[in-house]
Point group: C2
Chain length 216, copies 2
Amino acid sequence: MAPTIKITYFDITGKAELLRLILSAGNMDFEDIRVKKEDWPALKPTAPFGQLPTMEYDGEIYAQTNAMAKFLAKKAGLAGNDDLEELKMDMFMEFMNDIFSKLMGVFAKSESDKDAAGKKLFEEELPAMLKTLETHLEKNGGKFLVGDTLSYVDIAYFDLLQNLTWEDHPFFPNLPHNELRLDILKDHPSLVEHMERVKEHPGVLSWLDKRPTGPK
Amino acid sequence: MAPTIKITYFDITGKAELLRLILSAGNMDFEDIRVKKEDWPALKPTAPFGQLPTMEYDGEIYAQTNAMAKFLAKKAGLAGNDDLEELKMDMFMEFMNDIFSKLMGVFAKSESDKDAAGKKLFEEELPAMLKTLETHLEKNGGKFLVGDTLSYVDIAYFDLLQNLTWEDHPFFPNLPHNELRLDILKDHPSLVEHMERVKEHPGVLSWLDKRPTGPK
């Protein structure tokens, strides 16, 4: 019997969405538990690092999104074929952490510094990082980030870029220069094509159709 | 014949030290290339994400410290025995990223905010994170973070805590409340014991004895 998998997060896409997408792409059953903000403090002490999302797998509770993503991707056959492919996938997931750090860095700025930091983020830093990503994609043949089939790394960047260009995102519109954010893919056609390619996967598509929150 | 491994970084411990420690713990030969700051701009375009450290492995160049650490740890037999141990190791490495983010967040503050942020970091945030780490360590029997033998995760936290309590660190003394930083382990005896345990490993010890920079 397959182990029971429960993903616990808030009722948003956010960090849990990658896990939900991988599980759906791998056609794996899971319980999608969505916690109300007011219920979180009571739950927090049970989370291994005091954060959501968590994953209950076979009765034990785990945490840290990229760690869980990779574990589930292995079960789903979406984590590469050898150590060198795995190394490359880990590289891309860490680069995604670098991108998030840049984004979060602007949220953390004091109000007086936020405008300049947002402009720099959306006009310089993020485009440069997306260019780096695009160059890697093209160097690998343009279809997938690592190897020659879909992996969880492709799904992760699809999810990131959907969020970055989602008009109704719960957090990003609070950053200055929102109009630059929504236009962030204009010079990156290979990334747009890559997003479309990921979206064609039946498991991904099925989740996008039925998910209760997030961009469609 | 074993593949040629070259680690390229600046002439400091910093992010490359984990890779050097894992290689030494695994008794693997490597070339320890140290770039002068003034030579870095010319080299930067050859780095996969424009950052150091990089690793040349069997003729190809890789990047992202934790990805390379994990890859080398696998070759060294320091990366666990099954998918669940690997998941746990990934969790601890991501938690280390959380710790670094907190530290870097204070560096990024404007001068007027830095004092309060540093105080909060060293008096509240970092002690709470070290407490979480200590709780996990003790839950696993107190000797190692994952499983019942030394892994690269133990080495990674040893390296982090050595740096955090290193008086002559090239960057941390620039943060406010340096005296709190140097005292950060005072309430965490299990972590101090854990550091000593890692230091007993012959490969680790041999690197500490001969490394050109860093705490002894």
